[in-house]
């Protein structure tokens, strides 16, 4: 087992069982089946509100397609400078929106602040048609740095966005981890705070390939169906994504899996922090740990076959020294402790 990423883990057994169970019989394709309709409707309960829900297989698809509904093709999307939409989707949002402009905004620990966002906005006064019109604020919960926005912080950011006539997108690839960690309700973390569309992730947290685009105002979804289709993101055998969400939402599986990953993240963070010379870069609030190792410990560990990634970003406060470690729903205490021991040994061994 490794700490390279939570998507190195496979799927939870409950998810695979649900897929197998959904395999019986002939059912309408492309989401016309009963299971899909039932599971889509289930989101209303989770979020305490009627919503329009669309399934896709990847987070990049979910984010880009959601943004294509919120932004005109010439619009401007404000996002954290380390966000996934900005850094990790190979200009996917630019492509899927038909050419919108992303404006990277700095902020400590992967988090945007009202001040930071407001300052960024000020640099783009409305100047039609020369300036691309500010259209969307994209937030990530939990953030790429493994930190969390409180419901209050989200509300303040969404208010600032709406006051400037922007809509709000939330990249929730690790939304489950955020909810499990904070204890805030899914509703408080999204539409009650002002989020317009949530990309609700399943894949990183035990699904095989399952992401839901959740519109809290169903009227906004107007042409999403066409956009999903033309981008090649409508599954013919949709039941197999629906089945994943069916199991994922049942009996709080999503929260249980995330809680497990979070706990392992915390254990890992605490263990590493106790090693002399190791610095934990960001508060460990979910299953991600960002750490700087002293001397050449990181190189030694990698040479010995530990696959974890350096974390280098535009605003990199650690000048290339940071490492990202991620626990998953599958991670065991033994694995965590073993890794801590190996880090400890690498730190102590002579160069």
């Amino acid at each position: 087992m490794t700490f390279a990423s939570d998507n190195w883990a496979g799927a939870a057994p409950e998810i695979l069982d649900a897929i197998a169970k959904a395999n019986d019989g002939a059912v309408p394709a492309y989401g016309g089946d009963e299971l899909t309709k039932r599971v889509e409707a289930r989101f209303a309960q989770v979020f305490e509100r009627e919503c329009a829900v669309y399934f896709v297989a990847t987070g990049g698809a979910a984010n880009g397609l959601a943004l294509s509904v919120l932004s005109p093709p010439y619009g401007m999307i404000f996002c954290h400078e380390e966000s996934h939409v900005q850094m990790d989707e190979c200009a996917g949002p630019e492509f899927l929106t038909g050419g919108a402009k992303l404006i990277p905004v700095p902020g400590e620990g992967g988090k945007l602040t009202v001040d930071g966002f407001t300052k960024a906005l000020k640099g783009f006064p409305y100047r039609p048609p020369h300036g691309s019109p500010p259209s969307v604020l994209s937030l990530t919960q939990a953030t790429e740095c493994g930190t969390l926005y409180s419901a209050g912080e989200l509300k303040a950011l969404c208010d600032a966005a709406h006051n400037a006539d922007l809509t709000v997108h939330m990249d929730g690839a690790r939304f489950a981890n955020a909810v499990a960690s904070s204890g805030a309700s899914p509703a408080d973390m999204t539409w009650r705070a002002g989020v317009d569309i949530l990309c609700f992730g399943g894949t990183k947290n035990g699904c095989l390939a399952a992401e839901a685009v959740v519109f809290f105002d169903p009227s906004m979804a107007k042409d999403f169906d066409f956009r999903r289709k033309r981008a090649g993101h409508l599954w013919s055998k949709m039941r197999f994504i629906s089945a994943q969400f069916d199991a994922y939402l049942a009996n709080d599986l999503w929260l249980r899996l995330a809680a497990r990953a979070n706990a392992m993240g915390k254990r890992l963070s605490d263990g590493l922090a106790a090693i002399d010379g190791v610095e934990i870069s960001y508060p460990t609030e979910i299953n991600e740990v960002f750490a700087c190792f002293p001397g050449d410990a990181a190189e030694k560990l990698r040479a010995a076959g530990e696959p974890f990634y350096p974390w280098i970003t535009p605003g990199d406060p650690a000048e290339g020294r940071m490492n990202r470690l991620i626990a998953s729903f599958r991670t065991t205490e033994e694995e965590v402790d073993g890794f801590i021991d190996r880090v400890s040994a690498a730190v102590k061994s002579p160069a």
Copy 2:
């Protein structure tokens, strides 16, 4: 069980087993795992030639992304006027290529002919930069009308395309059915005939969601990786597509599933043809049957809950009277015979 479409069927048990089996352990994401590499390499055996292989989840993604590599964004793609890329992907090829132009070409029974293609080409003499440059010929094997190109017909079409400096894309959503039915080798049906890229389908033939883009000249794949990623089509847990292809290609499962579906298609076609007044519109060469029912039989059957689709296309020779019926790898003889009986009854009952 229904004859609405082969994608109303679920997945073959071997496919689900392979997914479950692939679930063990932590492995690199995004296709960096051993299984993916091994399965990609397997295609070289199937096609008797080194090739570059990329997996995606839908046929629309495979086709559009493949075309984006073959055509410049201002290029022209010739395809059958009833082809999936033209009719059923919601302008996906136009989107994924960045704006290429599709030229629909008529041809009986879903098939292009050298004459038809050449005549279409003649209408677009090279006039840079006014005319979009003819760039790609897109063929579908088996066709949307359930008919087959022989290896010789393919070669003649590919030669005509290459002679005019076009490359050749093959939409092989039902490629397995074509190979199983014709007995021609995968190589003869593709690169030996001159096909440059094959979109090799798994989903309609018993996979859950698995399509392979196969480049017979690996150098053509140059930037496919970027294109797949930015369109949101790179799976993080790639092993779960790879596992499907692993099982699909093992022990000729793909051909066995297709042969079963084809046989059921043939049985259905023969049974329907024997009913007075039923006309079979196209030769039944794979698992698809196109039939016109006399009087109001189609309406009666639909009213009684048989879900099958009318088949209306630009060149519709039957003026809206044709119906499309598709058998799948799961279809049983009893289902076929039962359906034939119900059609027979509907035809005979007074209006």
Copy 3:
């Protein structure tokens, strides 16, 4: 002087004078100047109706940008198979709309008929989200074959389009020639017939570079300003397009120039028709003449330095033998007669 195209002619002296006159003083850029506002408003008089007007420099820009407002990026645009948007803009409409699909429809003499359009539409029943939704009917007046729609024919086509929930775009690159020839009012030929957006051409008829996108329902223009800007089509020194239209519309200059070109077209057509063996392919209704020359007369003429183009299109009824000849506002009777003589000589001379 040649008959290669009306855009081989330069600009009318009145147009150049207007540009020179508009050069005085500093005025707001990007269309904020008084002249631009005044000239935009002038269109309301010409068309007997308030309209929103935007200037650009090329017909390709006007057409593509107009279509981008009428069609969603995944929409379907029906047009004549020989239309400029389909044949001569290098996939510009696909690009400027963000990926819409053009459906070429045949029709004699460059004209669509209600029957032809209705038949084409029938091939694309509404099947969301698989089929791209039929969105726009694009008409060309005068047509690419130099023929005209009557106001009644336009109304019937627009009604058919609106009844099917499509909007109507008119490519009016030679709109002036159509109005001058038919005597119908600009209003009758556009919004009274049901046209939603007219691309009103100036360039081919004596302007330097001036095209107006005219929205008969100003609310449709909502974001045109942004679309024009991001495509690089907003002139900073807009006064220099406005000045062209100022002169073009004054004292019916546009109609006088077009009438002159039309008369020369007619004289050319009549003269050619009188030569043994010359066939006039389409009725000569404006300044364009389409003619087949017997034997190798066309080759001889070209070899002798007469620059005119062969006219080869998808539905080419003449199998490559047709030639397109265009008179301009500058063409003189002597030029016409001289050309007729040279054709006559070429036809008569031994091979």
Copy 4:
């Protein structure tokens, strides 16, 4: 006369004369005429090197189309955070490249530095296919802040870009002002420093609408012709852009016009600097002056009808207090002195 922008000025008389002179006779359209070929060739002399040259009418078109050749549609373009491509083209580069990502980089006075650029690059280590690949460095000469890069500074930046496998685009909307001010040769300021494509502006400096895209490596221009056409930027009556450049380059008109505008900028800057409380924000190196006025002087001046723009940008060091003033080739000493007097009065008058 105003200082709102140099594009509020009209065209130089020599330019209009050249247009009028080019109006004689029928010549091939779309750039096939002799004048166009001759003027394109003239650039080889100006730049002391064979180059491929393409004309368009706007700076936005020139920049976006040039970038579409240098960057793949999923590429990353580094530019100054105040540059025109980032701030003033309504997401045109994103659109015209088919979705490339722009990375805004800060730098004092509108200038990028090797350090600043290198630091920005470091934030995006090559991570295919997740990270968009760094593809282009876009420089502006003169900058949006009216400052200049020396030939040495340009060379250092180009070297840094090429060493990282990026190509270099130069937005030269005010290239003439830069050359006239610095005395460096056009070659030293471009290809000898390492610039791959220059967008050579004419419009702001006395042309009507004329920009040239200059490829110093003609092989890079491969498909520019198609890209220009499909974006609607190929003029049919191309001679009218060519004629502008013919006059612009003759007898150093371009440099004389720019020198005049620069001198007026300098006079304005010096005069304003002498007023108590007025701060000149950036060195005045061309025809642009950036100034902060004390108290409410700016408001008073605007209320009195002086049309000049506030200059607010992402990195705005003056917190919204800066004003941009631009002299043109037409500006007179009297106009400058009059304006200085009015500013002086506004500063001194009681609030």
